[in-house]
Symmetry: C2
DNA sequence: TAAATGTTGTTATAGCAAAAACAACATGAG
DNA sequence: CTCATGTTGTTTTTGCTATAACAACATTTA
């Protein structure tokens, strides 16, 4: 019972992000449970006020999620849920396509005109978004990638990204741990951080520096309290600062033993 | 200019169905047009009140559609539109999957219990929904399909559907016009309606009758004024009525010449 | 048959929450 | 100081939610 309730609430939430209102979701779920119900039965099953059931059903019919019988009292039937959901998705997907095309056109039109971005430093929050940015950055590298990271967060994905580029650009990596075998075409130095006071315990805080083509830098910091955030810039000073930073740790890592 | 405005409005609508509010859509579009704008510039470009720009930008940052510079004044950058839209879609798709699974489970659980549906007659409105139902009906046919239609609306799709089943079930068709060549395994009678007073001019009104396995009937009526609607039933009387109806027109169509 | 009861479908309307629009204020750089 | 920025409230609007009341019809009971 409670499990069903939980489940239903989840489904309702999902349906809401497909563009239905709370009532529309509840009514549709109720109808899926007992196909061919009357308005009153729907009201009892869904908890939606009886008078509200009618306009809600109208909307659902408009959205092709419900059909009506011509009996009296009227009975209502849900479209098969997989078809219904697919139908909603299809409409959203078409909108997504439209938005993407339109926006991309605008974006590319404007791309030539401006881009005074180079001197600015951009912040990004959240691992997912950072992952996307990083992927973009690395996959557009043309000459060199220098990486320095002591951070578990995206280790696997970072390694995978680098391996895809290992034959087309020069890659140098300093890190504390490597998963899988190290490709020959990469220069990888593995070294545990000295005491912990330099970089901090890996679980609560981790960092990564990515230098691409000597002109772009992305710096990632993850901490348990404040989530993960990243800075990206093509500004000279910014890139130079982290290049020096990287050189320092790189030479430290090359020293044999500690 | 006006074209751009039209275009923008369209994009805004599309973005709204991806879960953004009007302001969020407008701000994001403005930002795509001039990346790295300040809050005030965004306000001017989008028409969104300046004070509203800030909370809206916050939400967009939360949704990983925008990043901030650490300059003063702050400057804002859009995530690349294709990435942004994809990211929104991914989240919606995951919800869709969740909803579909949950609903389908409920649906299948309940499917055994009931189904007193057989005696009812169901209405469906809108060509798209009807097309889906019809597809479902025809593709689940196991023995016979008898079709009678004088209706341009879904002609091509109907023909295509039938061709897919031509080798597995017996098919008989009466219609006024056929696109493409007629497969040998189907029985098709093509005959123009006599005068127009029986069925009416094809443009303003058209109809179709689909009898499947002798136990299911779907009747479609399209009129210019009231849109397209369909009835579906497995009720004995309903099926028998339209079987007689079909037999009548079938024998009429078999008569040589008019 | 006639009155009483209950149900259905409809309409009107009040409540509510999120978003939109506006106004006011503190800050900070030139 | 002055202007633009960033922040904080308040009001208005909007769309959904919720309740109440009503006419039409069917069902029951006397």
């Amino acid at each position: 019972m409670d499990e069903q309730g939980e489940n239903q609430a989840t489904i309702a939430e999902s349906l809401k992000s497909l563009g239905l209102t709370k009532y529309e979701a509840l009514v549709y779920i109720a109808l899926v449970r007992v196909a061919g119900a009357t308005a009153t039965e729907i009201h009892e099953l869904s908890g939606v006020p009886r008078a509200s059931v009618y306009p809600v059903l109208d909307r659902l019919i408009q959205k092709n999620l419900v059909s009506v019988s011509n009996t009296s009292p009227k009975r209502f039937n849900p479209v098969r849920p997989d078809e219904g959901v697919d139908s909603l998705m299809k409409s959203i997907e078409s909108d997504a396509l439209c938005a993407r095309e339109g926006l991309n056109r605008i974006y590319l039109e404007c791309a030539d005109l401006e881009r005074g971005d180079q001197e600015l430093i951009w912040s990004t929050y959240g691992e997912e978004n950072i992952r996307i940015r990083l992927l973009d950055l690395i996959s557009n590298a043309t000459e060199s990638i220098r990486v320095f990271f002591y951070w578990g967060g995206l280790r696997k994905q970072i390694i995978q990204m680098l391996e895809e580029k290992k034959n087309s650009v020069s890659i140098e990596v300093v890190t504390d741990h490597w998963e899988g075998e190290i490709p020959e075409s990469m220069n990888v130095w593995i070294k545990k951080p000295p005491g912990g006071h330099d970089i901090g315990p890996a679980k609560s805080l981790g960092g990564g520096v990515f230098l691409v083509d000597g002109s772009k830098a992305m710096v990632i910091m993850g901490s348990e309290e404040e989530g993960t955030s990243a800075l990206y810039s093509e500004a000279r000073g910014f890139v130079r600062f982290f290049t020096v930073y990287w050189n320092f740790f790189s030479s430290w890592a090359r020293r044999k033993n500690q």
